[in-house]
Symmetry: C2
Subunit: 245 residues, 2 copies
């Protein structure tokens, strides 16, 4: 059980590494998916009720062990596919969590992935599961360290939607500016000025006016837009943002 950890792994021969893997370094790896959706002007997350006695009645993220023949990303996509039936969704690794006693079955390090999907398009696939879209803001007391993971992913999302066009994955392909603003306001928990918000997005010139309008609204219908991913891809990224802390 004792291993000479003063040696660099790179200096060990492969046999030594294998031996260590079988003894001192038996750790499971799981992936936990934080699947965000947006509905009724609120940020939602897809959860399941935990069955483990220890966490009875608590909510849990969607996770599974990573098999040794699959990539980490693959594992995340597999889980998403199993839950929502979709495989063309936004998915990104956020970070890993490896506290010693985070899992009752033993030492399991988990890698958190964040996924953004449009709830409307995926509703059918998850109806007969024991899955629930849960409001993010009113959540607490989850199973494992999942509350912590969710918090980290939520902060990650808040940061991320300001610098990358992720938000659109949470909306239908065609959306109104009001919907887009509601999304930002909900995720960031801020109030924004409508005119400045519009100005901002129009000046980016990444929204395509498709000359369609909302229907079935009890007021003047808003214009619908589509996000132009191609144009966005072609923009060059700046590496200088300005020092500010």
């Amino acid at each position: 059980m004792t291993v000479d950890t003063s040696k660099r792994s790179d200096k060990k021969d492969i046999k030594t590494i294998l031996h260590q893997l079988e003894n001192d370094a038996v750790i499971g790896i799981s992936v936990d998916c934080v699947i965000f959706g947006f509905d009724e002007n609120e940020l939602k997350v897809l959860l399941i009720k935990s069955d483990l006695k220890k966490f009875e009645g608590k909510w849990s993220l969607l996770g599974d062990l990573v098999n040794n023949h699959e990539d980490l990303d693959e594992a995340a996509y597999r889980i998403l596919k199993e839950r929502t039936g979709m495989d063309d969704v936004y998915l990104e690794q956020v970070r890993s969590f490896g506290e010693l006693n985070r899992h009752p079955a033993g030492r399991i390090v988990t890698i958190a992935y964040c996924s953004l999907i449009n709830i409307q398009h995926h509703e059918l696939k998850i109806l007969d599961n024991e899955l629930h879209w849960h409001r993010v803001v009113t959540l607490s007391e989850m199973a494992f360290d999942h509350q912590k993971i969710l918090d980290v992913c939520h902060e990650w999302l808040q940061r991320r939607i300001q610098e990358h066009p992720l938000g659109f994955s949470l909306l239908p392909q065609k959306f109104s500016l009001r919907e887009l603003q509601n999304l930002y306001e909900a995720i960031l928990d801020v109030k924004l000025d409508r005119r400045n918000f519009r100005k901002k997005f129009f000046s980016m010139e990444l929204l395509e006016d498709i000359n369609e309008f909302e229907t079935d609204v009890p007021h003047r219908p808003g214009k619908l837009y589509r996000f132009n991913y191609d144009k966005y891809q072609k923009k060059e990224r700046k590496k200088w943002f300005g020092i500010d802390f």
Copy 2:
């Protein structure tokens, strides 16, 4: 070897998980440290020559397997301690890399940590090791997927020093504004206006003028400053940065 992956891990009982861990999910976890330093106005990274035949002559990051009784962060700190003798350095997890064939000894997922240290203060400890500070810009062809890991960490650093006061960890406690600017220019690969750079940092009011001056410089000595971490800690973080992508 076949496992019913359609079941959620949360729905499996603990015995099933353990069984799976012993068979289908045997994956090693390692930590790789990207240890950055700053010297001669250049960003450096601490590397070792790989001994594995497969990677003969190539450079490798400092990594080791994570033992099952240690936290991920602990493992990273252990490696740092072993290499540099320091344990009060800046260290942060960046992300994990889990491609199937990234390691010749089998399936090993690695978690990359970024560390920033002041080369001068740590020089003695690493003299008699087979370690080398290597310029980041001229590096290529590393062992494993370490080039990729380094690239990701470098980008992470570029982003990070603009929004958090990490950079100071790369400098002596007392530094001149010129040194600070050189640091930013080297890491970001940009040219900055000296006056505006000063204005920026002075307006943050986080630099303490300690009324000392450079010595042994062949020109007018510059004032030395210290970064005031306490004051920084007390500042409240903003969550709204402005949409821009």
